[in-house]
């Protein structure tokens, strides 16, 4: 460090500590802003992770493999053949992918009609592997009556509670499913209610039922085939690399298999999260503007009040720009220290008090459903590195934005004017 730079740094530091009260006061605005930022980010990131997790478990996973046309056509014609499924399983076993994967579940979904003696209603019929599905969607935990499917079940169905009540079905009741099979023929299948579930999501409770995968395949004439392989990842932030790896592993099957991320397969959830993020950013911007105003104010006041000092510095041989830099460094140091302390404080509060989750159930007295997902009122905060990095960058941005104007003012001081002695 050159000695002139050292002098400027010394002057800046000494000035900050000379005006301890003022520095502390304006620093505290920054400190609070950053603490709030870290706190709200940790809650938002934790909440979003839970929201995504709940969404992808009920839906198609973080990543799903389907026939390319299935997404738009939803027809059995577009399904994954046993060969493609084997290739998918192979790809999932590759180390780079498997260490990100928590579970995968095969599903054969068709649109059909459920008919009881009382009524006939449109439904989504999902053929599932009971064991794999249970650890995936955890729909067994939403049981209302009866039981979840067992591996050796054949003609049992797990039915949305609203659907069951509309069809006047009880545990053990028989009803008929009809749908188009692989060859386009309408075909029926009689099943029996094993249990009913209430997920809290109206679309599911009114229109979904699950039957064993083997039963569905046999009924619809597609042995060994599924319409999608849903894959659950350790963390939603693994989606991008998992997509990339799976796509390259399945590059040879691109005519038969498309790999979709949750943002594509659940656009509603994606949009809801983006909205929530934007709301957060607006909130952060308000925090930043408040903090920056406090800092600009303090530094500017201190510049006005030190006109004579800057005059002395100039008379002694400092250049205009150097005087400006002293002020700029002051602002940056004030912002950086209070900002980082604020971040630490926010993190400490989150970690110290809410590490095991922040219970919002008092605020939301009913079940909260949004974008097809039921949100758990207990949010486990999460610290994401990119958010921490973003916070640090914001500190630098606030610091330089709020210091540049006072610094410029300091360079504009007229030495002769500043040195005038007022009685």
């Amino acid at each position: 460090m050159s000695s002139r730079r050292r002098i400027r740094l010394r002057l800046a530091l000494r000035n900050l500590s000379r005006q301890k009260r003022r520095s502390a006061l304006s620093g505290s605005a920054m400190l609070l802003a950053m603490a709030l930022l870290v706190f709200s980010r940790a809650i938002a990131d934790g909440g979003h992770e839970e929201w995504i997790d709940a969404g992808v478990r009920m839906g198609d996973g973080h990543v799903s493999v389907q026939a390319p046309e299935y997404r738009t056509r939803r027809s059995l014609e577009y399904r994954l053949s046993p060969d493609v499924r084997a290739a998918v399983q192979d790809a999932l076993r590759a180390p780079a992918i498997s260490n990100r994967v928590v579970a995968s579940a095969p599903r054969l979904t068709v649109q059909g009609l459920a008919s009881s003696s009382q009524a006939a209603l449109p439904v989504a019929v999902m053929g599932v592997d009971p064991e794999l599905e249970r650890s995936f969607s955890r729909l067994d935990e939403k049981l209302e009556e009866g039981r979840w499917l067992k591996p050796d079940d054949r003609l049992q169905a797990y039915v949305g509670a609203r659907l069951a009540s509309r069809l006047k079905l009880k545990e053990g009741s028989r009803f008929v499913l009809t749908a188009q099979d692989a060859s386009g023929e309408i075909t029926g299948q009689m099943v029996r209610v094993a249990g009913t579930f209430r997920s809290g999501i109206p679309e599911m409770d009114e229109g979904l039922l699950q039957i064993p995968l083997a039963t569905a395949q046999e009924w619809l004439g597609v042995p060994g085939s599924v319409t999608s392989e849903a894959i659950l990842l350790r963390d939603s932030r693994d989606t991008r690399p998992a997509l990339r790896d799976l796509r390259s592993a399945l590059a040879g099957w691109s005519d038969d298999a498309a790999v979709l991320g949750w943002r594509e397969s659940m656009p509603e959830l994606n949009a809801a999260l983006r909205m929530d993020d934007w709301a957060d950013y607006v909130f952060h911007l308000v925090l930043f503007v408040i903090a920056a105003t406090a800092i600009v104010n303090t530094i500017l006041m201190s510049v006005m009040y030190r006109t004579r000092e800057f005059g002395v510095l100039r008379a002694l041989g400092l250049e205009r720009g150097e005087v400006g830099r002293v002020v700029f460094i002051e602002g940056m140091i004030l912002t950086a220290i209070s900002g980082v302390v604020g971040m630490a404080l926010g993190a400490a509060v989150v970690w110290g008090f809410f590490r095991n989750g922040l219970d919002f159930s008092a605020l939301w007295d009913m079940e909260l459903e949004a974008a097809g997902v039921v949100i758990d009122p207990v949010i486990i905060p999460a610290f994401h590195w990119n958010q921490i990095l973003l916070s640090l960058i914001s500190i630098l941005a606030i610091g330089s934005l709020s210091s540049v104007y006072p610094a410029w003012r300091a360079t504009r001081i007229d030495v002769a004017e500043a040195m005038k002695f007022e009685e």
Binding site: R10, R14, V312, G317, V415
Partner: protein
Amino acid sequence: MSAGANGSDVSTGRVRALGTPAVRTQGLWKVYEHDGIRVEAVRDVSLTIEQGEFVVLAGPSGSGKTTLLNVVGGLTRPSDGKVWIDGTDITALSERELARLRLEKLGFVFQAYNLLPVLTALENAEFTLLLRDVPPEERRERVEKLFERIGMTGLEDRRPGKLSGGQQQRVAVARAVVAEPSLVLADEPTANLDTATSTSLIDLMAELNREFGTTFVFATHDTRLMERARRVIRLVDGAIVDDTRRA
């Protein structure tokens, strides 16, 4: 009388050339215009101050002493005319070059509040040495010697706020001379001091002038200081009306 150009050549060399005046001005004007009101603060001043002089610019309040001093020190640009410091035409210098010249050739003492409040007495005194990258040992040695000389030993670590007005002015003088500039410009340095304190400050500056040959130019209406000067230049309404040397 030595007002006016003395004909010596302009030396641009950095080394103080023998015979080069410490200050020379030629047809210097400073005119302020605010809202149509025109103030001629300095009017056609041409003067030469030799190395080692101890000069007072005297005159009533508003006669242009401060303005002239500021123009000579490169703190204010003249409206017309030229200023040479140690042979360098400072009216031709850029802002940056002027800052450098102030650092290398000039020392300033103002009426009051000369010191940087956040630095200790010692740090204030050595400030220009720091700016000039003088190594620490040499810095300490020079400043300690000066502190002894100005009777400030033991007060090195005090902040200006904890020093009396006289002590502050002594430190300001020490800071002005520590880097051995060719010229010290002092604007009313004794105006805020009581008689005893001003007398001892004047003694100090006179001794430094004798010992180191540092040129001192004062703007003052303090008669004690005028009595000690070997040359008194009188200003009235921005113009020189009298320039008297004594033995």
